[in-house]
Symmetry: C2
Subunit: 246 residues, 2 copies
Protein backbone atom coordinates (compact mmCIF):
# COMPACT_ATOMS: atom_id res chain seq x y z
CA UNK A 1 0.00 0.00 0.00
CA UNK A 2 1.63 3.22 -1.18
CA UNK A 3 -1.39 5.42 -0.44
CA UNK A 4 -4.06 4.72 2.16
CA UNK A 5 -7.47 5.36 0.61
CA UNK A 6 -10.39 6.69 2.63
CA UNK A 7 -14.06 6.84 1.72
CA UNK A 8 -15.44 10.41 1.87
CA UNK A 9 -18.12 9.33 4.38
CA UNK A 10 -15.46 8.05 6.77
CA UNK A 11 -14.37 11.59 7.63
CA UNK A 12 -16.11 12.54 10.85
CA UNK A 13 -15.07 16.10 11.36
CA UNK A 14 -13.14 17.75 8.53
CA UNK A 15 -10.02 15.66 7.97
CA UNK A 16 -10.52 13.33 10.95
CA UNK A 17 -10.88 9.57 10.50
CA UNK A 18 -10.83 6.56 12.82
CA UNK A 19 -9.80 3.28 11.17
CA UNK A 20 -10.55 -0.10 12.70
CA UNK A 21 -10.37 -2.42 9.69
CA UNK A 22 -7.60 -3.94 7.58
CA UNK A 23 -6.13 -0.51 6.96
CA UNK A 24 -5.58 0.02 10.69
CA UNK A 25 -3.97 -3.43 10.87
CA UNK A 26 -1.74 -2.51 7.92
CA UNK A 27 -0.67 0.76 9.60
CA UNK A 28 0.10 -1.01 12.85
CA UNK A 29 1.70 -4.26 11.72
CA UNK A 30 3.30 -3.46 8.36
CA UNK A 31 4.11 0.26 8.58
CA UNK A 32 4.40 0.07 12.41
CA UNK A 33 3.24 3.65 12.77
CA UNK A 34 3.58 5.61 15.97
CA UNK A 35 1.72 8.64 17.25
CA UNK A 36 2.71 11.78 15.37
CA UNK A 37 3.85 9.88 12.27
CA UNK A 38 2.71 10.95 8.80
CA UNK A 39 1.33 8.55 6.20
CA UNK A 40 0.23 9.20 2.63
CA UNK A 41 -3.55 9.20 2.35
CA UNK A 42 -6.10 9.83 -0.36
CA UNK A 43 -9.82 10.40 -0.57
CA UNK A 44 -11.59 8.12 -3.06
CA UNK A 45 -12.26 10.19 -6.19
CA UNK A 46 -10.83 13.14 -4.29
CA UNK A 47 -7.44 14.64 -3.43
CA UNK A 48 -4.31 13.02 -2.03
CA UNK A 49 -2.82 14.30 1.20
CA UNK A 50 -1.04 13.50 4.43
CA UNK A 51 -2.55 11.81 7.48
CA UNK A 52 -0.93 12.33 10.89
CA UNK A 53 -1.48 9.60 13.45
CA UNK A 54 -3.19 11.33 16.37
CA UNK A 55 -4.13 8.30 18.43
CA UNK A 56 -3.58 4.55 18.58
CA UNK A 57 -6.17 2.77 20.65
CA UNK A 58 -5.81 -1.01 20.61
CA UNK A 59 -6.49 -2.03 16.99
CA UNK A 60 -7.85 1.41 16.03
CA UNK A 61 -5.85 4.23 14.49
CA UNK A 62 -6.96 7.86 14.31
CA UNK A 63 -5.64 10.18 11.63
CA UNK A 64 -5.86 13.92 11.12
CA UNK A 65 -5.63 14.48 7.39
CA UNK A 66 -4.62 17.51 5.31
CA UNK A 67 -5.52 17.22 1.67
CA UNK A 68 -3.95 18.79 -1.42
CA UNK A 69 -6.04 21.46 -3.13
CA UNK A 70 -6.06 19.57 -6.46
CA UNK A 71 -7.78 16.29 -7.32
CA UNK A 72 -5.85 13.87 -9.58
CA UNK A 73 -7.07 13.93 -13.17
CA UNK A 74 -9.05 10.87 -14.22
CA UNK A 75 -7.17 8.53 -16.57
CA UNK A 76 -7.43 9.32 -20.27
CA UNK A 77 -7.79 5.68 -21.30
CA UNK A 78 -11.07 3.73 -21.34
CA UNK A 79 -11.20 -0.04 -21.68
CA UNK A 80 -13.84 -1.97 -23.61
CA UNK A 81 -13.21 -5.59 -22.68
CA UNK A 82 -15.02 -8.75 -23.73
CA UNK A 83 -15.82 -10.40 -20.43
CA UNK A 84 -12.90 -12.72 -19.59
CA UNK A 85 -13.00 -15.91 -17.56
CA UNK A 86 -13.76 -15.13 -13.89
CA UNK A 87 -10.32 -16.35 -12.79
CA UNK A 88 -8.62 -14.04 -15.27
CA UNK A 89 -10.84 -11.08 -14.42
CA UNK A 90 -10.12 -11.55 -10.72
CA UNK A 91 -6.40 -11.17 -11.46
CA UNK A 92 -7.06 -8.17 -13.70
CA UNK A 93 -9.10 -5.80 -11.51
CA UNK A 94 -6.22 -4.50 -9.39
CA UNK A 95 -3.90 -4.30 -12.38
CA UNK A 96 -6.45 -2.30 -14.40
CA UNK A 97 -6.89 0.18 -11.57
CA UNK A 98 -3.13 0.42 -11.01
CA UNK A 99 -2.46 1.13 -14.68
CA UNK A 100 -5.21 3.76 -14.68
CA UNK A 101 -8.48 3.39 -16.59
CA UNK A 102 -11.37 5.85 -16.50
CA UNK A 103 -14.09 3.43 -17.55
CA UNK A 104 -14.11 -0.35 -17.63
CA UNK A 105 -16.83 -1.41 -20.06
CA UNK A 106 -17.35 -5.16 -19.90
CA UNK A 107 -19.27 -6.66 -22.77
CA UNK A 108 -20.68 -9.85 -24.12
CA UNK A 109 -19.38 -11.31 -27.40
CA UNK A 110 -19.97 -14.53 -29.28
CA UNK A 111 -16.91 -16.17 -27.76
CA UNK A 112 -17.76 -15.17 -24.20
CA UNK A 113 -19.27 -18.06 -22.24
CA UNK A 114 -22.73 -17.14 -20.95
CA UNK A 115 -22.07 -18.25 -17.38
CA UNK A 116 -19.24 -15.76 -16.99
CA UNK A 117 -21.98 -13.19 -16.37
CA UNK A 118 -23.05 -14.97 -13.20
CA UNK A 119 -19.58 -14.84 -11.68
CA UNK A 120 -19.11 -13.36 -8.21
CA UNK A 121 -16.22 -11.34 -9.61
CA UNK A 122 -18.77 -9.09 -11.38
CA UNK A 123 -20.35 -8.05 -8.08
CA UNK A 124 -19.23 -4.60 -6.84
CA UNK A 125 -18.60 -6.04 -3.35
CA UNK A 126 -16.04 -8.33 -4.97
CA UNK A 127 -14.35 -6.04 -7.49
CA UNK A 128 -14.45 -2.71 -5.64
CA UNK A 129 -11.90 -3.76 -2.98
CA UNK A 130 -9.66 -5.13 -5.77
CA UNK A 131 -9.85 -1.84 -7.66
CA UNK A 132 -9.03 0.05 -4.45
CA UNK A 133 -6.06 -2.28 -3.89
CA UNK A 134 -4.76 -1.30 -7.34
CA UNK A 135 -5.29 2.41 -6.68
CA UNK A 136 -3.46 2.18 -3.35
CA UNK A 137 -0.56 0.47 -5.13
CA UNK A 138 -0.38 3.15 -7.82
CA UNK A 139 -1.10 6.14 -5.50
CA UNK A 140 -4.22 7.10 -7.42
CA UNK A 141 -7.61 8.05 -6.03
CA UNK A 142 -9.75 7.79 -9.16
CA UNK A 143 -11.93 4.69 -9.03
CA UNK A 144 -12.62 3.29 -12.51
CA UNK A 145 -16.30 3.42 -13.46
CA UNK A 146 -17.44 -0.13 -14.20
CA UNK A 147 -20.38 -1.11 -16.38
CA UNK A 148 -21.49 -4.50 -17.62
CA UNK A 149 -23.27 -4.97 -20.94
CA UNK A 150 -24.94 -8.17 -22.05
CA UNK A 151 -25.92 -6.82 -25.48
CA UNK A 152 -22.88 -6.00 -27.56
CA UNK A 153 -24.78 -4.38 -30.41
CA UNK A 154 -26.84 -2.11 -28.16
CA UNK A 155 -23.66 -1.12 -26.36
CA UNK A 156 -21.77 -0.20 -29.52
CA UNK A 157 -24.66 1.40 -31.38
CA UNK A 158 -26.53 3.21 -28.63
CA UNK A 159 -24.51 3.51 -25.44
CA UNK A 160 -20.83 4.01 -26.24
CA UNK A 161 -21.08 7.59 -27.53
CA UNK A 162 -22.53 8.83 -24.26
CA UNK A 163 -19.86 7.03 -22.25
CA UNK A 164 -16.72 7.76 -24.22
CA UNK A 165 -17.61 10.76 -26.35
CA UNK A 166 -14.94 11.69 -28.82
CA UNK A 167 -12.21 9.34 -27.57
CA UNK A 168 -9.99 7.88 -30.29
CA UNK A 169 -11.17 4.28 -30.70
CA UNK A 170 -8.83 1.33 -31.16
CA UNK A 171 -9.52 -2.39 -31.33
CA UNK A 172 -6.67 -4.81 -30.71
CA UNK A 173 -6.31 -7.28 -33.56
CA UNK A 174 -3.39 -9.69 -33.96
CA UNK A 175 -1.21 -8.74 -36.89
CA UNK A 176 -2.84 -5.38 -37.62
CA UNK A 177 -0.13 -3.19 -39.13
CA UNK A 178 -0.97 0.01 -37.21
CA UNK A 179 0.42 0.28 -33.68
CA UNK A 180 -1.23 2.20 -30.86
CA UNK A 181 1.49 4.91 -30.79
CA UNK A 182 1.08 5.37 -34.56
CA UNK A 183 -2.71 5.70 -34.24
CA UNK A 184 -2.47 8.16 -31.36
CA UNK A 185 0.19 10.22 -33.15
CA UNK A 186 -1.99 10.34 -36.25
CA UNK A 187 -5.34 11.04 -34.61
CA UNK A 188 -4.31 13.06 -31.56
CA UNK A 189 -7.15 13.48 -29.10
CA UNK A 190 -7.27 13.59 -25.36
CA UNK A 191 -8.84 10.20 -24.68
CA UNK A 192 -8.35 6.72 -26.02
CA UNK A 193 -10.89 3.90 -25.93
CA UNK A 194 -9.16 0.53 -26.22
CA UNK A 195 -11.23 -2.54 -27.16
CA UNK A 196 -9.90 -6.00 -26.34
CA UNK A 197 -11.72 -9.13 -27.52
CA UNK A 198 -12.29 -12.51 -25.91
CA UNK A 199 -9.87 -15.46 -26.09
CA UNK A 200 -10.33 -16.53 -29.70
CA UNK A 201 -11.08 -12.97 -30.83
CA UNK A 202 -14.11 -11.01 -31.93
CA UNK A 203 -16.19 -12.66 -34.65
CA UNK A 204 -16.55 -11.03 -38.06
CA UNK A 205 -19.82 -9.29 -37.21
CA UNK A 206 -18.44 -7.84 -34.00
CA UNK A 207 -15.27 -6.59 -35.64
CA UNK A 208 -17.26 -4.99 -38.48
CA UNK A 209 -19.63 -3.32 -36.04
CA UNK A 210 -16.71 -1.89 -34.08
CA UNK A 211 -15.09 -0.63 -37.28
CA UNK A 212 -18.37 0.88 -38.43
CA UNK A 213 -18.39 2.83 -35.18
CA UNK A 214 -14.95 4.34 -35.54
CA UNK A 215 -12.68 1.68 -34.07
CA UNK A 216 -9.40 1.26 -35.89
CA UNK A 217 -7.47 -2.02 -35.75
CA UNK A 218 -4.17 -1.88 -33.90
CA UNK A 219 -1.69 -4.69 -33.45
CA UNK A 220 1.34 -5.49 -31.40
CA UNK A 221 3.24 -7.80 -33.71
CA UNK A 222 2.41 -11.37 -34.59
CA UNK A 223 2.27 -12.74 -31.06
CA UNK A 224 -0.96 -14.04 -29.57
CA UNK A 225 -1.15 -13.20 -25.87
CA UNK A 226 -3.27 -14.59 -23.05
CA UNK A 227 -6.05 -12.10 -22.33
CA UNK A 228 -4.69 -10.91 -18.99
CA UNK A 229 -1.21 -10.38 -20.46
CA UNK A 230 -2.73 -8.66 -23.51
CA UNK A 231 -4.80 -6.37 -21.32
CA UNK A 232 -1.86 -5.18 -19.19
CA UNK A 233 0.38 -4.90 -22.25
CA UNK A 234 -2.10 -2.90 -24.33
CA UNK A 235 -3.06 -0.56 -21.49
CA UNK A 236 0.63 0.13 -20.80
CA UNK A 237 1.29 0.86 -24.47
CA UNK A 238 -1.83 3.04 -24.63
CA UNK A 239 -0.73 5.11 -21.63
CA UNK A 240 2.76 5.63 -22.97
CA UNK A 241 1.40 6.60 -26.38
CA UNK A 242 -0.98 9.13 -24.80
CA UNK A 243 1.85 10.53 -22.70
CA UNK A 244 4.20 10.81 -25.68
CA UNK A 245 1.57 12.64 -27.71
CA UNK A 246 1.00 15.45 -25.20
Amino acid sequence: VNLLLLEPNELREPGRVRLTDGRAAHLLSVLQVEQGQDVRVGLLDGPRGTGTVTAIDGAAVELQCAFDPAIPEPANVDLLLALPRPKVLRRLWAQIAALGVRRVILTNAERVERDYFDAHVLAPECYRPLLIEGLQQARDTRLPIVSIHRRFRVLVEDELDAMCGDAVRAVAHPGAPTTIPALVAQRGGERLLMAIGPEGGWNTFELSLLEAHGFQRVGMGQRTLRSDTACVALLAIAHTAMEEST
Copy 2:
Protein backbone atom coordinates in the same frame (compact mmCIF):
# COMPACT_ATOMS: atom_id res chain seq x y z
CA VAL B 1 -1.83 -23.78 -27.31
CA ASN B 2 -1.47 -21.99 -30.64
CA LEU B 3 1.69 -23.83 -31.68
CA LEU B 4 2.72 -27.30 -30.53
CA LEU B 5 6.39 -27.23 -29.60
CA LEU B 6 8.66 -30.23 -30.11
CA GLU B 7 12.15 -30.86 -28.75
CA PRO B 8 14.68 -31.49 -31.56
CA ASN B 9 15.61 -34.89 -30.02
CA GLU B 10 11.99 -36.04 -30.24
CA LEU B 11 12.17 -36.32 -34.01
CA ARG B 12 12.85 -39.96 -34.80
CA GLU B 13 13.23 -39.97 -38.53
CA PRO B 14 13.29 -36.57 -40.24
CA GLY B 15 10.03 -34.82 -39.37
CA ARG B 16 8.43 -37.79 -37.57
CA VAL B 17 7.38 -37.58 -33.94
CA ARG B 18 5.30 -39.75 -31.61
CA LEU B 19 3.70 -37.88 -28.71
CA THR B 20 2.42 -39.63 -25.60
CA ASP B 21 2.44 -36.84 -23.02
CA GLY B 22 0.25 -33.82 -22.27
CA ARG B 23 0.61 -32.60 -25.84
CA ALA B 24 -0.99 -35.82 -27.17
CA ALA B 25 -3.79 -35.38 -24.63
CA HIS B 26 -4.24 -31.77 -25.77
CA LEU B 27 -4.41 -32.83 -29.44
CA LEU B 28 -6.96 -35.52 -28.68
CA SER B 29 -9.21 -33.93 -26.10
CA VAL B 30 -9.02 -30.18 -26.81
CA LEU B 31 -8.28 -29.98 -30.54
CA GLN B 32 -9.97 -33.37 -31.14
CA VAL B 33 -7.69 -34.10 -34.06
CA GLU B 34 -8.35 -36.88 -36.55
CA GLN B 35 -6.01 -38.75 -38.84
CA GLY B 36 -4.88 -36.58 -41.75
CA GLN B 37 -5.49 -33.33 -39.91
CA ASP B 38 -2.85 -30.57 -39.84
CA VAL B 39 -1.73 -28.77 -36.71
CA ARG B 40 0.75 -25.94 -36.27
CA VAL B 41 4.02 -27.19 -34.83
CA GLY B 42 7.41 -25.71 -34.02
CA LEU B 43 10.84 -27.01 -33.14
CA LEU B 44 12.30 -25.48 -29.98
CA ASP B 45 14.82 -22.82 -31.08
CA GLY B 46 14.13 -23.95 -34.63
CA PRO B 47 11.58 -23.34 -37.38
CA ARG B 48 7.80 -23.42 -37.29
CA GLY B 49 5.90 -25.77 -39.55
CA THR B 50 2.90 -28.03 -40.04
CA GLY B 51 2.37 -31.45 -38.49
CA THR B 52 0.01 -33.90 -40.14
CA VAL B 53 -1.57 -36.52 -37.90
CA THR B 54 -0.47 -39.86 -39.38
CA ALA B 55 -1.64 -42.18 -36.62
CA ILE B 56 -3.68 -42.16 -33.42
CA ASP B 57 -2.97 -45.13 -31.23
CA GLY B 58 -4.76 -45.01 -27.88
CA ALA B 59 -3.32 -41.99 -26.08
CA ALA B 60 -0.44 -41.57 -28.55
CA VAL B 61 -0.43 -39.32 -31.59
CA GLU B 62 2.03 -39.54 -34.47
CA LEU B 63 2.83 -36.52 -36.59
CA GLN B 64 4.70 -36.07 -39.85
CA CYS B 65 6.09 -32.55 -39.79
CA ALA B 66 7.21 -30.20 -42.55
CA PHE B 67 9.18 -27.21 -41.33
CA ASP B 68 9.60 -23.73 -42.79
CA PRO B 69 13.05 -22.94 -44.18
CA ALA B 70 13.50 -19.94 -41.85
CA ILE B 71 13.92 -19.90 -38.07
CA PRO B 72 12.14 -17.09 -36.17
CA GLU B 73 14.48 -14.29 -35.13
CA PRO B 74 15.29 -14.18 -31.44
CA ALA B 75 13.61 -11.32 -29.56
CA ASN B 76 15.47 -8.01 -29.52
CA VAL B 77 14.68 -7.29 -25.87
CA ASP B 78 16.67 -8.61 -22.89
CA LEU B 79 15.38 -8.43 -19.33
CA LEU B 80 17.53 -7.76 -16.27
CA LEU B 81 15.20 -8.43 -13.36
CA ALA B 82 15.83 -8.27 -9.63
CA LEU B 83 14.64 -11.64 -8.42
CA PRO B 84 10.95 -11.28 -7.51
CA ARG B 85 9.01 -13.24 -4.90
CA PRO B 86 8.64 -16.89 -6.00
CA LYS B 87 4.85 -16.53 -6.32
CA VAL B 88 5.26 -13.53 -8.62
CA LEU B 89 8.01 -15.16 -10.67
CA ARG B 90 5.87 -18.26 -11.18
CA ARG B 91 3.17 -16.08 -12.73
CA LEU B 92 5.75 -14.24 -14.83
CA TRP B 93 7.63 -17.02 -16.65
CA ALA B 94 4.97 -17.78 -19.26
CA GLN B 95 4.18 -14.09 -19.75
CA ILE B 96 7.86 -13.22 -20.29
CA ALA B 97 8.20 -15.95 -22.91
CA ALA B 98 4.93 -14.94 -24.58
CA LEU B 99 5.98 -11.30 -24.83
CA GLY B 100 9.36 -12.35 -26.25
CA VAL B 101 12.64 -11.92 -24.37
CA ARG B 102 16.04 -13.12 -25.60
CA ARG B 103 17.73 -13.30 -22.21
CA VAL B 104 16.25 -13.32 -18.73
CA ILE B 105 18.99 -12.21 -16.34
CA LEU B 106 17.85 -12.64 -12.74
CA THR B 107 19.89 -10.81 -10.16
CA ASN B 108 20.30 -10.20 -6.49
CA ALA B 109 19.79 -6.71 -5.05
CA GLU B 110 19.67 -5.28 -1.55
CA ARG B 111 15.86 -5.47 -1.43
CA VAL B 112 15.70 -9.07 -2.69
CA GLU B 113 15.09 -11.52 0.16
CA ARG B 114 17.90 -14.07 0.35
CA ASP B 115 15.63 -17.09 0.50
CA TYR B 116 14.10 -16.26 -2.89
CA PHE B 117 17.24 -17.88 -4.36
CA ASP B 118 16.27 -21.26 -2.90
CA ALA B 119 12.85 -21.25 -4.55
CA HIS B 120 11.80 -24.19 -6.70
CA VAL B 121 10.70 -21.71 -9.36
CA LEU B 122 14.39 -21.08 -10.17
CA ALA B 123 14.95 -24.71 -11.14
CA PRO B 124 14.96 -25.33 -14.92
CA GLU B 125 12.59 -28.31 -14.47
CA CYS B 126 10.09 -25.85 -12.99
CA TYR B 127 10.50 -22.81 -15.25
CA ARG B 128 11.26 -24.47 -18.58
CA PRO B 129 7.74 -25.89 -19.04
CA LEU B 130 6.31 -22.49 -18.08
CA LEU B 131 8.47 -20.77 -20.70
CA ILE B 132 7.38 -23.33 -23.28
CA GLU B 133 3.74 -22.69 -22.34
CA GLY B 134 4.30 -18.99 -23.09
CA LEU B 135 5.99 -19.74 -26.42
CA GLN B 136 3.16 -22.06 -27.44
CA GLN B 137 0.67 -19.30 -26.61
CA ALA B 138 2.59 -16.71 -28.66
CA ARG B 139 3.55 -19.05 -31.54
CA ASP B 140 7.24 -18.54 -30.95
CA THR B 141 9.99 -21.17 -30.84
CA ARG B 142 12.81 -19.14 -29.27
CA LEU B 143 13.34 -20.21 -25.67
CA PRO B 144 14.62 -17.33 -23.52
CA ILE B 145 18.12 -17.94 -22.13
CA VAL B 146 17.90 -17.78 -18.34
CA SER B 147 20.78 -16.99 -16.00
CA ILE B 148 20.77 -16.37 -12.26
CA HIS B 149 23.29 -14.05 -10.59
CA ARG B 150 23.81 -13.77 -6.85
CA ARG B 151 26.41 -11.02 -7.12
CA PHE B 152 24.92 -7.87 -8.62
CA ARG B 153 28.20 -5.99 -8.89
CA VAL B 154 30.05 -8.83 -10.63
CA LEU B 155 27.12 -9.17 -13.01
CA VAL B 156 27.03 -5.51 -13.96
CA GLU B 157 30.79 -4.93 -14.05
CA ASP B 158 32.10 -8.16 -15.53
CA GLU B 159 29.37 -10.27 -17.11
CA LEU B 160 26.77 -8.04 -18.74
CA ASP B 161 28.87 -6.89 -21.70
CA ALA B 162 29.43 -10.45 -22.89
CA MET B 163 25.73 -11.26 -22.56
CA CYS B 164 24.09 -8.17 -24.01
CA GLY B 165 26.81 -6.53 -26.07
CA ASP B 166 25.82 -3.16 -27.43
CA ALA B 167 22.15 -3.25 -26.48
CA VAL B 168 20.66 0.10 -25.47
CA ARG B 169 20.34 -0.07 -21.68
CA ALA B 170 17.35 1.24 -19.75
CA VAL B 171 16.51 1.04 -16.07
CA ALA B 172 12.90 1.56 -14.99
CA HIS B 173 12.64 4.26 -12.35
CA PRO B 174 9.34 5.75 -11.13
CA GLY B 175 8.96 9.35 -12.23
CA ALA B 176 11.95 9.41 -14.61
CA PRO B 177 11.08 11.94 -17.33
CA THR B 178 12.39 9.91 -20.30
CA THR B 179 10.07 7.25 -21.67
CA ILE B 180 11.22 4.03 -23.34
CA PRO B 181 9.99 5.12 -26.81
CA ALA B 182 11.88 8.42 -26.42
CA LEU B 183 15.09 6.60 -25.40
CA VAL B 184 14.84 4.12 -28.26
CA ALA B 185 14.09 6.87 -30.78
CA GLN B 186 17.09 8.84 -29.56
CA ARG B 187 19.58 6.00 -29.28
CA GLY B 188 18.46 3.67 -32.05
CA GLY B 189 20.10 0.28 -31.81
CA GLU B 190 18.90 -3.19 -32.54
CA ARG B 191 18.62 -4.52 -29.02
CA LEU B 192 17.27 -3.18 -25.78
CA LEU B 193 18.24 -4.34 -22.28
CA MET B 194 15.53 -3.43 -19.78
CA ALA B 195 16.38 -3.47 -16.06
CA ILE B 196 13.56 -3.75 -13.52
CA GLY B 197 14.25 -3.48 -9.80
CA PRO B 198 12.79 -5.26 -6.79
CA GLU B 199 9.64 -4.18 -4.92
CA GLY B 200 10.88 -1.07 -3.15
CA GLY B 201 13.35 -0.27 -5.92
CA TRP B 202 17.11 -0.44 -6.41
CA ASN B 203 19.17 1.18 -3.67
CA THR B 204 21.36 4.21 -4.42
CA PHE B 205 24.50 2.13 -4.98
CA GLU B 206 22.76 -0.23 -7.38
CA LEU B 207 21.20 2.58 -9.38
CA SER B 208 24.54 4.41 -9.61
CA LEU B 209 26.33 1.26 -10.71
CA LEU B 210 23.76 0.68 -13.43
CA GLU B 211 24.03 4.27 -14.60
CA ALA B 212 27.85 4.04 -14.59
CA HIS B 213 27.44 1.09 -16.94
CA GLY B 214 25.31 2.84 -19.49
CA PHE B 215 21.79 2.35 -18.15
CA GLN B 216 19.50 5.32 -18.63
CA ARG B 217 16.52 5.91 -16.35
CA VAL B 218 13.15 5.54 -18.00
CA GLY B 219 9.76 6.07 -16.41
CA MET B 220 6.14 5.37 -17.13
CA GLY B 221 4.46 8.21 -15.31
CA GLN B 222 4.04 8.63 -11.57
CA ARG B 223 2.34 5.31 -10.91
CA THR B 224 3.99 2.62 -8.83
CA LEU B 225 3.14 -0.82 -10.19
CA ARG B 226 3.34 -4.31 -8.65
CA SER B 227 6.43 -6.01 -10.08
CA ASP B 228 4.56 -8.49 -12.25
CA THR B 229 2.38 -5.75 -13.71
CA ALA B 230 5.44 -3.52 -14.20
CA CYS B 231 7.31 -6.32 -15.93
CA VAL B 232 4.56 -7.06 -18.47
CA ALA B 233 3.89 -3.35 -18.97
CA LEU B 234 7.53 -2.40 -19.55
CA LEU B 235 8.24 -5.34 -21.85
CA ALA B 236 5.18 -4.48 -23.93
CA ILE B 237 6.24 -0.83 -24.18
CA ALA B 238 9.81 -1.90 -25.02
CA HIS B 239 8.64 -4.17 -27.85
CA THR B 240 6.39 -1.53 -29.35
CA ALA B 241 9.16 1.07 -29.12
CA MET B 242 11.61 -1.27 -30.86
CA GLU B 243 9.03 -2.04 -33.55
CA GLU B 244 8.26 1.65 -34.12
CA SER B 245 11.94 2.49 -34.47
CA THR B 246 12.65 0.03 -37.30
